[in-house]
């Protein structure tokens, strides 16, 4: 087995310079203490992200119910900011003004779905209080492959949550300040970068950052509803746009009943399509079940309470906004702004006043926070996948600030691509949305039903009913979404998820076979008898200080045979080397000059090594001097033959490469320093 090891012998300059503040001094009292300077990249990282967190700081603080509601429900509650708009957008396109008579029934249907989902998730929280989430539930009950489907579906939806939330938040901002309209993509990217940066820094799940915007939005939403209903009751709430004259005679829309609307051509398809678009409202319900461990004790009871609060809040806001929409008659614009919620705000608060501004700001904040929820969930879910060998292992690595940095970056990049591709338009993102969430709802709820059935713990019958019905309902909604939004963009997800799952299973097979090969009889291999002979070859290009270091290092080894090897590319240079070598006082180290008339140095050395290996009882070590340049661009000035030698040897069994670094200090050599063996 060939492997590549790197040794780091002490640098030639042992008179250590004064330690820089950013360097670690190992064994500080020793006169020749080694100074380990921190690389520039790390120093930059520390400037930007703050000092590294130690692993024992991982334990996160426990959250009380009010804070937990703020932390986990921003994603879910924020959906109310755009759900009504998306329902209206579909309906108005299909049936015109009669949309306003259908929006409330559709919202009620969605709230019913929400109600059953909440009931189902109450069960999940109780049964999986440690590691909840669709991935774990599905994996436990159906196995790894269905879990991949649930996980991938959720991951795509987390990406979409970021894109949709940021786009909707930007839309809220643009509604307030219309002149920003042409910069919406850039604003979105800025928000994504901001959130990703904050998460890389490790924004604590601690209260205030979340609590203020969330409760601010809830307060503004309730205020909007309160004022709106009061005005409705007193008959002061009128249409925002005075367009009634252009409507067909005798069809004042809010006087039209649902039945009449059907008569005007609201086909079942349009209604289902609108319902599917409204499905965006319930995304984020799963957030609490993912984070039960973050609650104060008793975790699952508190999490259940928080879930109820979240559900009631979302239901109230969603339904209330839809009801107000029937009065205000907001119009979803093709450009996405001004948003429906902002138009309702305008209608209710009576123009673009301070309250309206506050509503817009609150919307912006909660939507940005909603994106942040995904940044907490996506990396964790991805790390579950990776932990089960279904995603690149890098996703399990916690970074500088103890967060899953790679997952955060992956999410930010995917979301940014989506935002750019759709031009930051919420209505173009919505068709992709929700299908993944409902797929994972279906899987995890049926997983829960199976869990009840197999465990048969007290109350399992009602558990099966609740989760089974939740699964059934999710499946129906999922099918409706897939059917009605297929041509609008849902096909992307429907095509993408199976491809991704296929890709992940391939990845898994690769990981599994690697692991199997690596672990197969490892202990026996470690104790197996070693090869009889050890040959050390020092690759020498010319007799310079870097070669001298390698030779010096080689002389500390005790192999059966020690030789230097030089590939003769230029016969004059190799003649010169041969002459210099024959004058050296190194009786133990002869120099082999090997033919290299095809100028492939690495190949020539590999052939020489292969010759040594031919007897099948020889272990060969090739020492490769490696010049370490001080600056990145210095490296570019040289070819990296040393790397190529290592690469050429990597396929030979029992050929090993050791790099012997020589650090160029960037100063003229000091003739009084006798650190080389080049005495003449």
């Amino acid at each position: 087995m060939s492997d590549t090891t790197a040794t780091t012998p002490t640098p030639p300059d042992t008179s250590a310079p004064a330690p820089r503040p950013t360097a670690t001094r190992v064994h500080g009292n020793h006169p020749h203490a080694v100074v380990l300077p921190e690389p520039l990249s790390y120093r930059m990282k520390r400037k930007v992200l703050g000092p590294a967190l130690t692993t024992d700081q991982l334990e996160h603080e426990r959250l009380g119910i009010p804070t937990a509601v703020a932390v986990f429900s921003s994603d879910c509650i924020s959906s109310s900011a755009y759900a009504t708009e998306e329902i209206l957008r579909v309906l108005i396109g299909a049936v015109g003004v009669f949309a306003f008579s259908l929006v409330v029934p559709i919202t009620i249907a969605m709230v019913i779905v929400l109600f059953f989902l909440i009931l189902s998730y109450r069960e999940t929280i109780k049964e999986y209080p440690t590691a909840g989430g669709a991935y774990m539930v599905t994996r436990d009950n159906f196995g790894l492959i269905p879990a991949q489907v649930a996980g991938v579906a959720l991951l795509t939806d987390y990406i979409l949550t970021v894109a949709v939330s940021v786009a909707a938040g930007t839309a809220a901002l643009v509604s307030l300040v219309p002149s920003l309209g042409s910069y919406s993509v850039i604003i979105c990217l800025f928000f994504i970068a901001l959130i990703a940066g904050g998460n890389l820094k490790g924004v604590k799940e601690s209260g205030l950052i979340f609590a203020i915007p969330t409760y601010f939005f809830i307060a503004m939403g309730l205020l909007l509803l309160g004022v709106g209903f009061w005005k409705m009751g007193t008959g002061h709430l009128g249409h925002l746009y005075n367009l009634s004259k252009s409507w067909p005679k005798g069809s004042s829309p809010h006087g039209v009943g649902t039945v009449t609307a059907f008569a005007y051509g609201a086909g079942l398809y349009a209604i289902l399509h609108a319902f599917a678009s409204g499905g965006a409202a319930v995304t984020g319900v799963e957030a609490i079940s993912n984070g039960v461990t973050a609650f104060r004790k008793p975790e699952w009871k508190n999490a259940r309470k928080a879930l109820m609060i979240m559900g009631v809040t979302l239901g109230t806001l969603f339904l209330g906004l839809s009801v107000l929409a029937t009065r205000v008659h907001p119009v979803p614009f093709a450009e996405g702004t001004p948003t429906v919620i902002s138009q309702i705000g305008q209608g209710v608060f009576g123009g673009k006043n301070a309250l309206y501004g506050a509503l817009q700001i609150a919307t912006l904040f909660i939507l940005v926070l909603a994106a942040n929820t995904s940044f907490a969930d996506f990396p964790r879910l991805a790390s579950f996948h990776a932990g089960d060998n279904f995603m690149p292992k890098q996703l399990t690595k916690r970074g500088h600030r103890l967060v899953f940095s790679n997952g955060i970056l992956a999410l930010a990049i995917c979301a940014a691509v989506l935002v750019v591709a759709t031009g930051a338009k919420v209505d173009r993102l919505i068709p992709l949305y929700a299908i993944g969430v409902f797929t994972s709802f279906t899987l995890s709820q049926s997983g829960m039903a199976k869990h009840h059935y197999t465990r048969k713990e007290p109350g399992w019958r009602s558990g099966i009913f609740v989760n089974g019905f939740g699964a059934f309902l999710s499946l129906i909604v999922d099918l409706i979404i897939a059917y009605t939004k297929f041509t609008h963009g849902a096909w992307v997800i429907i095509v993408l998820v199976p491809i991704m799952v296929f890709g992940l299973t391939r990845l898994n097979r690769q990981y599994e076979s690697e692991a199997a090969e690596l672990e197969d009889e490892a202990r026996a291999a470690a104790a197996a008898p070693i090869l009889r002979r050890h040959v050390v070859l020092v690759a020498v290009d010319k007799l310079d200080n870097s070669a001298a270091r390698a030779i010096q290092y080689a002389r500390t080894l005790v192999p059966d045979e020690l030789r230097a090897i030089h590939a003769a590319v230029d016969s004059r240079a190799s003649d010169e080397l041969a002459q210099e070598w024959s004058r050296l006082g190194l009786s133990r180290v002869p120099l082999d000059i090997v033919d290299c008339s095809d100028r492939r140095v690495a190949r020539s050395i590999a052939e020489a090594v292969a010759e040594e290996l031919a007897d099948n009882e020889t272990e060969v070590t090739v020492l490769v001097p490696q010049r370490k340049y001080r600056r990145f661009w210095h490296t570019l000035l040289h070819d990296n033959t040393s790397e190529r030698v290592a690469e050429a040897l990597s396929t030979l069994p029992h050929a090993n490469v050791t790099f012997v670094p020589y650090h160029l200090a960037g100063k003229r050599p000091d003739p009084s320093r006798p650190h080389t063996m080049l005495e003449h």
Binding site: R563, A578, S582, R583, I593
Partner: protein, 117 residues
């Protein structure tokens, strides 16, 4: 044979390192043996290319070793008592006459009579 396999065989890199060597050295004028077939302990004439030359440092026993290789195998020629022999350089083609001996699986020819080509 599939196309892929044929391509792999074509490009596998297994084969002659110096395809012209044999041709040049097995002309009737030189009565050389292929190194693989050259018997040990009897005088033989072999020919090949100098693949490597070993330089001993000053303190070592003065010896010059060079490896001669043709398509079929290789032999190390050893010049005892010499540090340098003019013309014994990598890449040169050479004819050597001498007796091949074996030592630890490696074949040597001590102080051969040689002719550089």
């Amino acid at each position: 044979m599939t196309f892929g396999r044929r391509l792999r065989r074509r490009t596998s890199g297994v084969g002659t390192l110096w395809p012209d060597t044999t041709e040049a050295l097995t002309e009737p004028t030189h009565d050389t043996k292929a190194i693989e077939d050259a018997p040990s302990r009897v005088p033989v004439l072999i020919g090949g290319k100098i693949k490597s030359v070993r330089v001993q440092p000053l303190a070592g026993v003065p010896t010059l070793k060079a490896t001669i290789s043709d398509d079929t195998g290789q032999v190390t020629i050893v010049f005892l008592g010499r540090r340098h022999v003019a013309g014994i350089e990598t890449g040169r083609k050479i004819l050597c006459e001498g007796v091949i001996g074996e030592q630890m699986g490696r074949r040597h020819m001590l102080n051969p009579a040689y002719r550089l080509l």
